[in-house]
């Protein structure tokens, strides 16, 4: 007897440079797929976008999306929590459904990042840093990630070449995902010779910039037919850390994961498919360890040896599927939903029952772990 909120439909837009589409067109492309499939109008709309204000000069985005979708009288809000926006939006939707405030919540993640030239985009991204203490110093997230990568290599005696395993794996997975932005494989040598972004981080260790939109309908189990494919949201834990990771351990992720596993009475090895928010190679590896899929310092080796049972980022992750900032979390939830219901059009996990979504803000400044289970 499923008591948790369920997802019965997901819609995705291929991540990429959509020069001919703006925020509302992208949102509609994902959302209308879901509204049509579920066949009901939602009684709440949550739009997640991390930077629509600075990238597109558009706040009040949820109303604009609601109107564009032709939804009448629906309460509409936009959620923002940096890269965590999408996953947090789904978590909020769960709360609305569990409280009985809504029966169907449409969550639409959307980001339009490719309208600005690089210099302006980088300035816009500074809005995700502390405006008083970090942004004026000129430090970027990439710079901090580079430092973290260096610390990780020093602490665990890991060689630079070993860390190419992550982008190589992500690109291999994305090459099979029709929704991925970078659908080409890469070799380790290409990673090591790609332009330096923030040493030792190279271009092929960093997410690409792209537009995207993803939508899911989160519903109360009583309000849906028990016949179709569905995934229940078994649990969510969201933790803000004391400080952004200044040493190579993702404490917020670790705490969120262990709290959730405890609450559900499961261990990491029970999860068969995961979508980790790998904004950088080092984020992906540290998250894998913090989630309990590998011991500290051993994530790269574990991946290389194939000793992790769970299928890691079959979508290609942020690295290759893409990272449309505030929409990414919804992509991840949609992808795990599709894995659990056997409908993912790329690399598939074998008959999975449990899936995990990991999202973070910054470098584990805040982390969210969500477990989904095949509903019926």
């Amino acid at each position: 007897m499923v008591k948790n909120p369920v997802i019965t439909s997901a819609g995705l837009v291929k991540v990429g440079r959509h020069f001919d589409k703006g925020l509302r067109e992208l949102a509609a492309e994902a959302a209308l797929q879901v509204i049509d499939e579920v066949g009901v109008e939602p009684d709440y709309l949550i739009v997640s976008s991390a930077l629509s204000g600075v990238l597109c000069h558009q706040e009040r985005l949820a109303e604009i999306v609601a109107r564009h979708l032709g939804l009448k009288r629906v309460p509409a809000v936009r959620i923002e929590a940096g890269y965590l926006s999408g996953a947090a939006a789904v978590a909020m939707a769960c709360s609305l459904v569990k409280s009985g405030a809504a029966r169907h919540v449409l969550v639409v993640g959307v980001e339009k990042a490719t309208d600005l030239p690089s210099a302006q985009l980088n300035r816009a991204l500074l809005a995700l840093r502390d405006a008083d203490y970090e942004a004026p110093s000129g430090v970027t997230e990439e710079g901090l990630a580079g430092c973290l990568m260096k610390l990780y290599m020093e602490e665990h005696g890991v060689k630079r070449e070993e860390l190419t395993v992550w982008p190589v794996l992500m690109h291999d997975h994305a090459s099979r995902n029709p929704y991925a932005q970078l659908k080409f494989k890469v070799a380790p040598e290409q990673v090591l010779s790609s332009p330096v972004v923030a040493d030792p981080l190279r271009l092929l260790d960093v997410y690409p910039v792209g537009d995207g939109a993803a939508a899911v309908m989160v519903s109360s189990p009583e309000s849906v037919e028990k016949s179709g494919a569905a995934a229940e949201i078994a649990g969510v834990v969201q933790v803000t850390s004391e400080a952004e990771a200044l040493e190579p351990v993702f404490k917020a992720t670790r705490e969120a994961a262990s709290t959730l596993y405890s609450a559900l009475g499961i261990e990491a090895f029970k999860v068969e498919v995961v979508e980790i928010m790998d904004t950088y190679t080092i984020t992906g590896l540290l998250a894998l360890e913090a989630l309990g899929f590998a011991k500290p310092g051993e994530a790269a080796v574990a991946l290389a040896e194939g000793s992790i049972k769970a299928l890691v980022n079959p979508s290609g992750g942020c690295k290759a599927r893409g990272h449309p900032f505030g929409a990414t979390g919804v992509y991840q939830v949609a992808e795990v939903y599709m894995q659990l219901t056997g409908s993912f059009p790329g690399l598939k996990a074998e008959d999975p029952e449990l899936g995990l979504v990991h999202a973070l803000s910054g470098l584990d400044s805040q982390a969210l772990v969500m477990i989904l289970r095949r509903a019926w």
Binding site: R17, F19, S193, P195
Partner: protein, 355 residues
């Protein structure tokens, strides 16, 4: 059924490339670019106009060579068009300066045109029209630029200086090659622009690719092939606008032209992107070697955006005209390497005051 272009031929052609070269490695050294950047652009060095040169002086040099090859009385020239996005004057035509200097004035049309990198080509299409109608006997179309780029912008690797002139006249008077057909494809696409008063242009980075360069060149070439009933295999050479050393090869692949047909007309790796002269200099290089009867595709492109496509058939008259002026390879090998400091001085990128 003949087309109006068929009665029009290239009476003479001329190229001018300044001698100074700035190696891409100098830009890397000063601005901290990785060596992979110029490698990915396919550009080794670029031609830089000297301190006493500008788009007008270069236009004149190219025009003189074209006239030498044509061997005609310059008073028979009834129109001079200069396409440039780096005019010495916002108001004061380069065309009247060139017309006067070569002896085409006073009985002549003269005008400067702007359409980013394809204004010279627009002048060529207009020239073909004027000659085919009989309104003028000969018309001179020039593309000339001392292209600008903001210091430290990746555009600095390719923004270069050069000029090319095409003198067209009645095919029946004898020519090096004649026009089988021409086509222009234009839309309002803001991929690259320079505001009035701005010393440097801005560009839309990735937006300058698929929706701009590729879309318009493919549109123009496909339009031309359809109208003429031709296929890529009917052509011996394919000369495209060359903003870097890679785009022409990529668009050739999309259209189905093998790279062997593109390489003879690819000059950007050695001199950078000469903007209005870009595709036309590629044509000049091909005319230095092409044989009578061969068919050349010429496809210039300009941001904003638009592309042209011409089918040009080489005539018997090419051999006698070829040797009357320096070959492009001679201009390419006339080189003096400068460093970034001299480049900045020559291109007036440092502000000086005198009092």
């Amino acid at each position: 059924m003949g087309r109006p272009e068929n009665g029009v031929g290239i009476a003479g052609w001329g190229a001018y490339i300044p001698r100074y070269r700035l190696p891409a490695s100098e830009i890397c050294r000063v601005w901290g670019f990785e060596p992979s950047t110029p490698k990915n652009l396919g550009v080794e060095e670029k031609a830089v106009a000297g301190p006493d040169e500008d788009s007008a002086t270069m236009a004149l040099e190219a025009a003189r060579y074209a006239l030498r090859r044509a061997g005609i009385d310059p008073s028979k020239i009834g129109a001079v068009f200069v396409g440039s996005e780096s005019k010495p004057y916002a108001v004061k035509p380069t065309a009247s300066f060139v017309a006067d200097a070569i002896g085409a004035s006073p009985k002549t049309m003269a005008s400067d045109l702007e359409f980013a990198c394809r204004a010279g080509s627009e002048g060529l299409r207009a020239s073909i029209g004027l000659v085919s109608s009989g309104m003028v006997e000969y018309a001179l179309a020039i593309g000339s630029d001392t292209a600008q780029a903001s210091p430290g912008d990746v555009l600095e690797f390719t923004a270069a200086s050069g000029a090319a002139a095409i003198l067209v006249g009645p095919r029946s008077n004898g020519c090096a090659a004649w026009f089988e057909g021409s086509y222009t494809y234009v839309t309002d696409t803001p991929d690259f622009w320079r505001r009035e008063g701005s010393p440097y242009p801005v560009h839309g980075e990735a937006f300058t690719g698929d929706p701009a360069y590729f879309h318009h060149i493919v549109g123009a070439v496909k339009g031309l092939l359809e109208e003429l009933g031709l296929k890529p295999s009917d052509f011996d050479y394919a000369v495209f606008h060359q903003p870097n050393g890679k785009f022409p090869l990529k668009v050739a692949k999309i259209l189905g032209f093998p790279k062997e047909k593109v390489l003879p007309g690819l000059v950007t790796p050695k001199i950078g992107n000469t903007y209005n002269a870009s595709a036309l200099l590629g044509l000049c290089k091909v005319l230095d070697e092409a044989k009578p009867g061969q068919r050349i595709l010429l496809a210039p492109y300009g941001s904003g955006a638009g592309a042209d496509a011409y089918s040009i058939i080489v005539d018997d008259g090419i051999e006698e005209r070829r040797t009357k002026a320096p070959a492009l390879s001679a201009l390419l090998s006339r080189r003096k390497v400068i460093d970034y400091a001299l480049y900045v001085k020559f291109r007036e990128k440092v502000r000086r005051i005198t009092w």
